[in-house]
């Protein structure tokens, strides 16, 4: 039992990276995704295709590859590489935010497509500018439809944070793996699993609450 407690204590130290990466990614990638969604659905064909290509690139390549690229690859870029030196955690954040923004862009776009065109028209005849209509009328309705996929994506994100163990960030899985190797005992993996389960449980509860709140 004391062994389990000891494992838990050491992993608690790693949870700051897991939760930190999760929080930063969610907080930044959602607004970026929302902006990308509006550009993607906007009238400007060029910008729309640029975002389309971006989404294709980010969703079409492994997150692990992107993680390696931003952590180890950036500095080798000609000319600009020397200015792009980041800490490992920072580069992990950049990779995650850019990757998840692409997914959120598509989630929000789905939400936007689900809003009836009559809503845009009603807002227009009432005198709303496009901007006002989007903020007051369209986005709240988009969010309702987007919540279940956002919930899904957030749970995936919690688990994806484990990937950064590959670039040597000392998050939960990093501790677990070292403990298993060191002690020749599988318990650490189970403790790590419990951590992830607890986090995803909390998230599920949070999104359930939000979905109730948005049930108009």
């Amino acid at each position: 039992m004391s062994y389990i407690i000891q494992l838990t204590m050491s992993m608690l130290d790693g949870i700051k990276y897991t939760v930190g990466l999760f929080g930063i990614t969610l907080l930044l990638s959602m607004p970026i995704g929302l902006i990308l969604c509006f550009v993607r659905s906007g009238k400007n064909k060029v910008l729309s295709s640029v975002v389309g290509a971006y989404v294709w690139l980010m969703r079409g390549t492994p997150l692990l590859l992107q993680l390696y690229f931003f952590c180890y690859g950036l500095t080798f870029l000609p000319f600009v590489g020397q200015y792009l030196v980041m800490g490992r955690f920072q580069s992990a954040c950049v990779a995650f935010v850019l990757n998840y923004a692409a997914y959120f862009c598509e989630i929000f776009r789905g939400g936007m497509l689900s809003v009836d065109t009559g809503q845009f028209e009603a807002a227009k005849v009432l005198g709303f500018s496009k901007w006002q209509a989007n903020i007051r009328i369209i986005i709240p309705q988009m969010l309702k439809v987007s919540l279940p996929p956002i919930s899904n994506e957030s749970i995936t994100l919690v688990k994806d944070t484990a990937l950064v163990t590959a670039i040597g960030i000392t998050e939960i899985l990093y501790f677990a793996k070292s403990a298993v190797n060191r002690d020749v005992n599988v318990s650490a993996y189970i403790v790590a699993a419990a951590f992830f389960l607890a986090l995803t449980y909390a998230l599920t509860a949070l999104f359930k609450y939000l979905e109730n709140k948005f049930s108009f």
Binding site: E121, A122, L126, Q132, I137, P140, F216
Partner: protein, 248 residues
């Protein structure tokens, strides 16, 4: 006074001519009913008036100002200002489902016209009373029947104090029992000399409440006149057939 003047309005969708040289005008305080077969261009014409569709050619003049001139439009801000004098009621109500009836009514006055929320709320209570829905002020749209939704939609548009109200088949998605309550509100507005253009299949309303009836067919105005003349003594063969085929 002329509230709306339309000259030679043209509109086509993917090569199909929906409107061919439509010209008419609407005077202040007048109720004009637009009738005709489905696909005759009635709704498209109405949507052009408030800039939900862009005309390809012709003029649209709202209270002396050009919304479209030879198919050319002013910048978005300018066209929004011109269209703000009008309101529109849709077939599918298009209430905002995520906010209460009260908020549906006060959003445009508060956020678009910068009215104080307190005064907007007071007006909302009054306007809801005129459509007979005082008790629904804090209801959500999903809790209302179709007829109630449409009356809220009318109230919402009245909150912006429009000079002209456009109705796009306002009772077409309602049960016959619910149609009556909406028509009653519209007749009441018509009596108060609100300027109205009503695209409708409700011949009873066109006959009893309209000052003038416009019959459209194939993107043109086929016949136009007083309701008695159109309904009892139509000149055009197509109008005769149409009137003969319906029961009033």
């Amino acid at each position: 006074m002329e509230m709306i003047r339309v000259n030679n309005l043209k509109k086509s969708f993917a090569g199909l001519n929906v409107l061919n040289d439509v010209s008419f005008s609407v005077n202040k305080g007048e109720t004009v009913a637009v009738i005709g077969h489905s696909g005759s261009g009635k709704s498209t014409m109405l949507r052009c008036l408030i800039n939900l569709e862009r005309a390809d050619g012709g003029d649209i003049i709202i209270e002396g100002e050009y919304l479209a001139r030879g198919g050319e439009y002013p910048p978005a801000k300018e066209s929004r200002r011109i269209c703000a004098k009008m309101g529109m009621v849709f077939q599918n109500f298009n209430l905002f489902p995520h906010i209460s009836v009260l908020n549906n009514l006060i959003y445009a006055p508060v956020y678009v016209m910068n009215e104080k929320p307190v005064s907007a709320k007071e007006r909302a209570a009054q306007v809801l009373k005129t459509v007979g829905l005082s008790d629904k002020i804090s209801a959500m749209p999903r809790e209302l029947s179709g007829g109630q939704k449409q009356r809220v939609a009318i109230a919402r548009q009245l909150m912006t104090n429009p000079d002209v109200l456009l109705f796009d088949e306002p009772t077409s998605s309602l049960d016959p029992q619910l149609t009556g309550e909406v028509l009653a509100v519209m007749k009441d507005l018509s009596k108060k000399r609100m300027t109205m253009v009503v695209v409708t299949h409700e011949m009873g309303f066109a006959r009893s409440a309209a000052d003038r009836v416009i019959f459209m067919g194939d993107g043109r105005i086929v016949e136009e006149g007083k309701p008695e003349d159109i309904f009892t003594n139509p000149k055009d063969e197509r109008v005769k057939q149409f009137i003969g085929s319906i029961i009033i």
